[in-house]
């Protein structure tokens, strides 16, 4: 990763409006699909071109876990599938 890219990454990921994104491993992803009993495409989508996904080096088919603050539950977890568009 180039130094400028590292800077951008720090900037985006540390912004207070960007929630925590994590790229799931294949095993973790399979676990999530099983837990919710869904096909990958039934998860909400997120574009490969999403800046955070690019920084995480996500590819179509990967699953991303997003943990964000919730006004009702304190914290909420959302899984999204990376798609090509």
């Amino acid at each position: 990763m180039t130094p400028s890219k590292v800077r951008v990454k720090k900037k985006i990921l540390s912004h207070k409006l960007v929630p925590k994104h994590e790229l799931l491993s294949v095993e973790e992803a399979a676990k999530v699909l099983k837990e919710y009993n869904v096909k990958p495409y039934q998860l909400p989508h997120i574009s490969v071109n999403d800046p955070v996904v690019r920084l995480l080096n996500g590819h179509p088919g990967n699953i991303i876990r997003i943990t964000r603050k919730s006004p009702t539950a304190g914290e909420s977890v959302v899984y999204r599938i990376v798609v090509a568009y």
Partner: protein
């Protein structure tokens, strides 16, 4: 032979009808535009009987059926020259742009096409959405290629001149592509390439989008209507077909005569226009085809589109039987679970009741009463399936005798039946609830005033709908899920949506107020309406006479172990107090089912008041307890008003002369301040507010001064009024009106505003002819110094009306806009549901939310947004 029932629909395939298929479907080729010859339909014309039997007594020459069973048959027109189907122009445009003008292949290298096609076939099965995007991508890429990678042909830009003309930008200029040329190019596209462009070539070859044969809709979908005068009026589609055939024959003759290309193209265009109009008569860029009386003709698109169209008008929205609609009126004496139904309606709506040994005697009586005497019956269905209409059946006595289990009696609606009751606009769940029938004389539906809030109903002429339930499943569901008492709590915010307004609030306040002392007679008068049968409590005062307080009476109906503490509505402003032993009685204290302190007002008895006494009672004692409370206790509040009398008099808003003097003084001072501001402005010494012009600054300052003046005058003058007169009681308890309303009635209206500003429009440079141009004084710009009691002067009346009109316009605009927003929201959200694993999903199982509301809390079953309200639990068990 396989019967209809032996087939199971596996799927529906949409495609484009090919010319061959059209000819196969067709029973007759239309060659002439003549409809009738001496009253008889012309063979080969748009009314050819081979397209279906429609006249009574007619037999279809194709299938042999009478009009009732003939499904109708298609005809066809052999077009003299191909014509573009307007419904497909955008697809044709994409195809022309992305394929080669000389070899028809996609303008991408062969290996790329091969790769994409493989990907496309895979995606189509699993990720149809992505497949669509791939096609879009291919088209975009191909359209940009200047030279064909297959044959090397130079490509030119394709231009679509809406609605249906294609041109090619060649070096020698813009060349028109005739539909014939367009069709030739589409024909060249190989099947596999068409597939990659999103088509299914087996069912939709590209060239089929340019019509050579026009399929003509059967007669039963375009039946003529004959008026009483005997004049026949043809359907719009038939009219358009006539012009199409005329244009087609014209074109054919012109071509045969060997006329020059320009004339042929002109006639060709006429045919293209008329065929396009058949599909859609609202095409942008071409004139609308009209009837002789200038009414626009309806094309096929117009039949389907919009609110009155086939989908929204006939398929999604259906009219129903077993329903009734009439004006509503109030009845405070029936339960909130009930609805009063006029006898006339009860005799029309029927319930099909199966005869059993248990109800046979009752149903015999119904049959004897017959269709005209309530409670009776309209039909008897015997066990052999024969339906007997009691209106025409003479010997009802014999029929009643012969009644036996297995028969079905369609009896009148009776007391105790359950029905659905609805008021439009049905914006939320509580707009349609189940009620239990009470049949009454009269012509209106009766409902308890406490259910007005969920329906948003009043009695200024509102009408409501009622639906009788017929099947046991429906009846059971209505009882368990839709009954009014199951909807006291709103799922929107968790609080009770049912409750009293206006008189209920005033009555509750008067009953529970500290100063209320009731004699034995009074107590009996009030309690008699509730059906209370217990003992009276010890009177609060024994000597010299027995007196009960209203709080004692209310306490008779509170659960014995109920505890509650909270502020009343009146606990604000001057009566604000945090002391549970409040002197003003504005802090409610209930200990062990005993109302010790505080008054009941809007907070306690009103609708849409969360976390109040009634909310907690529903939570802790259930819906049916709450219903009984609403049914019985609320009647006492009304009874209290009947006992005491409650009205509003002119003197309630009459301020004494010295108060009027004070007001005049304030007005004078205010006007002087405004004059000073205007003077400063004219002298050019007014300091502008940053970011404002001097004029804006002046306006803002004047408005500020005038508002201060009104507020000061209002505050000072209101001091002179009795704070315990009925008008103030209504405002304070939340029954009706506010302090602003009282000021308007007693002191002054103040500045009238239109569009958030003082009134400036009207004549040139002034509001009315009574003022000089450029007059900035309060009275010339809509300041009303009078009040409603003394009355407004003519100019003030005018300004008041101008501001009042703005309010009316605003509400009209707001309702229509929010209505459309609601429709769109519902369309987007209607099939979302919370599944058993707590996720929110759409009808295909796609996840929308991973846990409902992120915290899995149902607002209807929660308190304060939490599933457990610990504060309340502590409160409940606190020692006195």
């Amino acid at each position: 032979m396989l019967r209809f029932e032996d087939y199971v629909i596996d799927g529906i395939k949409f495609g484009i009808i090919s010319p061959d298929e059209a000819r196969k479907l067709s029973r007759v080729a239309l060659v002439t535009d003549k409809l009738y010859d001496e009253e008889l339909p012309v063979r080969g014309g748009p009314r050819d009987p081979h397209m279906g039997a429609i006249e009574p007594g007619e037999r279809c020459p194709v299938c042999g059926n009478p009009p009732s069973t003939c499904p109708g048959h298609f005809g066809h027109i052999e077009l003299a020259a191909p014509v573009i189907h307007v419904g497909f122009v955008s697809i044709i445009n994409d195809l022309l742009k992305s394929t080669c003008r000389s070899c028809g292949r996609i303008l991408l290298p062969q290996d790329e096409i091969k790769r994409d096609l493989e990907l496309y076939r895979k995606l189509r099965v699993k990720w149809p959405r992505l497949a669509k995007d791939l096609v879009k991508n291919v088209i975009q890429k191909a359209a940009k290629t200047p030279k064909c990678p297959h044959c090397g042909e130079q490509q030119y830009k394709i231009i679509l001149d809406k609605p249906y003309k294609f041109y090619e930008e060649r070096p020698e200029g813009r060349i028109f592509l005739t539909p014939h040329e367009v069709r030739q190019r589409l024909e060249m596209i190989p099947d596999e390439h068409a597939e990659l462009l999103g088509l299914d070539p087996e069912h939709a070859r590209p060239e089929w989008m340019v019509l050579t044969v026009l399929l003509v809709p059967p007669l039963p979908v375009r039946t003529p209507i004959s008026l009483e005068t005997g004049i026949r009026s043809e359907d719009d589609l038939t009219h358009i077909l006539v012009t199409i055939i005329r244009a087609n024959n014209d074109l054919k003759n012109i071509i045969m005569s060997g006329a020059p290309q320009s004339i042929v193209e002109e006639r060709w265009n006429v045919l293209q226009y008329n065929v396009s109009i058949l599909f859609d008569n609202e095409l942008p860029g071409v004139p609308v085809a009209r009837h002789r009386n200038l009414r626009p003709l309806k094309g096929i698109v117009q039949r389907l589109k919009g609110k009155e169209g086939r989908f929204r008008g006939n398929l999604s929205g259906k009219r129903v039987n077993y329903s009734a609609r009439t004006v509503i009126s109030p009845d405070p004496l029936i339960s909130i679970n009930e609805v009063g139904v006029p006898e006339e309606i009860a005799k029309t709506l029927t319930i099909a009741e199966n005869v059993t040994p248990f109800n046979i005697e009752k149903l015999r009586k119904r049959i004897l009463n017959g269709p005209n005497k309530w409670p009776g019956a309209n039909y008897v269905i015997r066990d052999d399936g024969r339906k007997i209409d009691l209106r025409f059946f003479k010997d009802r006595k014999a029929l009643a005798e012969s009644l036996r289990p297995g028969y079905i009696v369609e009896r009148h609606l009776e007391d105790g039946d359950i029905v659905l009751f609805n008021r439009q606009p049905s914006l939320h769940r509580m707009s349609m609830m189940a009620h239990i029938v009470r049949v009454f004389p009269g012509k209106t539906f009766r409902l308890n005033l406490l259910v007005c809030p969920p329906y948003n109903a009043d009695f200024d002429g509102d009408e409501m709908n009622l639906h009788a339930l017929r099947l046991p499943e429906a009846i059971a569901e209505a009882y368990e899920l839709m009954l009014v008492e199951k909807h006291i709590l709103s799922p929107r915010y968790g609080g009770p949506i049912i409750g009293g307004g206006q008189d209920y609030v005033s009555g509750a306040y008067l009953l529970t107020s500290k100063t209320t002392l009731l004699t034995r007679d009074d107590v009996e008068f009030i309690l008699s309406v509730t059906g209370y049968h217990g003992e009276l409590p010890e009177p609060a005062i024994i000597k010299p006479n027995e007196y009960w307080t209203g709080k004692q009476i209310i306490s008779l109906f509170l659960p014995k172990e109920f505890n509650f503490q909270g502020k009343a509505k009146i606990n604000s402003g001057k009566l604000e107090c945090a002391d549970p032993d409040c002197f003003y009685d504005s802090y409610i204290v209930i200990k062990n089912g005993e109302l010790l302190e505080g008054v009941f007002d809007k907070k306690a008895v009103g609708a849409q008041q969360s976390e109040n006494i009634i909310h907690h009672m529903i939570k802790e004692y259930g819906e049916s307890f709450a219903r009984e409370f609403f049914d019985n206790v609320f009647k006492m509040f009304i009874r209290m008003l009947e006992l005491k009398g409650f009205t509003m008099t002119l003197s309630d808003v009459e301020i004494p002369p010295e108060a009027r003097e004070r007001v005049e003084q304030v007005i004078k001072e205010t006007y002087e301040r405004v004059d000073k501001l205007i003077q400063q402005y004219q002298e050019g010494v007014l300091e502008p507010i940053p970011g404002r012009t001097i004029e804006e600054t002046l306006e803002l300052k004047i408005i500020q001064v005038l508002n201060e003046g009104r507020e000061r005058a209002g505050k000072e003058a209101i001091e002179y009024l009795d704070p315990f007169n009925n008008v103030f009681i209504m405002a304070r308890t939340g029954a009706r009106g506010s302090d602003v309303n009282i000021t308007n009635m007693a002191v002054m209206l103040g500045q009238q505003v239109v569009r958030g500003k003082r009134i400036t429009r009207g004549y040139r440079g002034r509001t009315l002819a009574h003022f000089k141009k450029g007059d900035l004084s309060p009275e010339s710009r809509g300041f009303v110094k009078n009040n409603f009691r003394t009355g407004l002067d003519p100019l003030e009346t005018f300004f008041h009306a101008a501001a009042g009109r703005e309010g009316l316009v605003d509400t009209a605009v707001k309702t229509s806009q929010s209505g459309y927003m609601q429709r769109r929201l519902i369309n987007a959200l209607m099939d979302l549901r919370v599944t058993y694993d707590g996720t929110v999903r759409d009808s295909e199982g796609n996840i929308v939310q991973f846990s409902y509301g992120e915290d899995l809390v149902d607002p209807m079953k929660s308190m304060h947004g939490k599933s457990v309200d610990i504060d309340r639990i502590i409160e409940k068990y606190r020692e006195v």
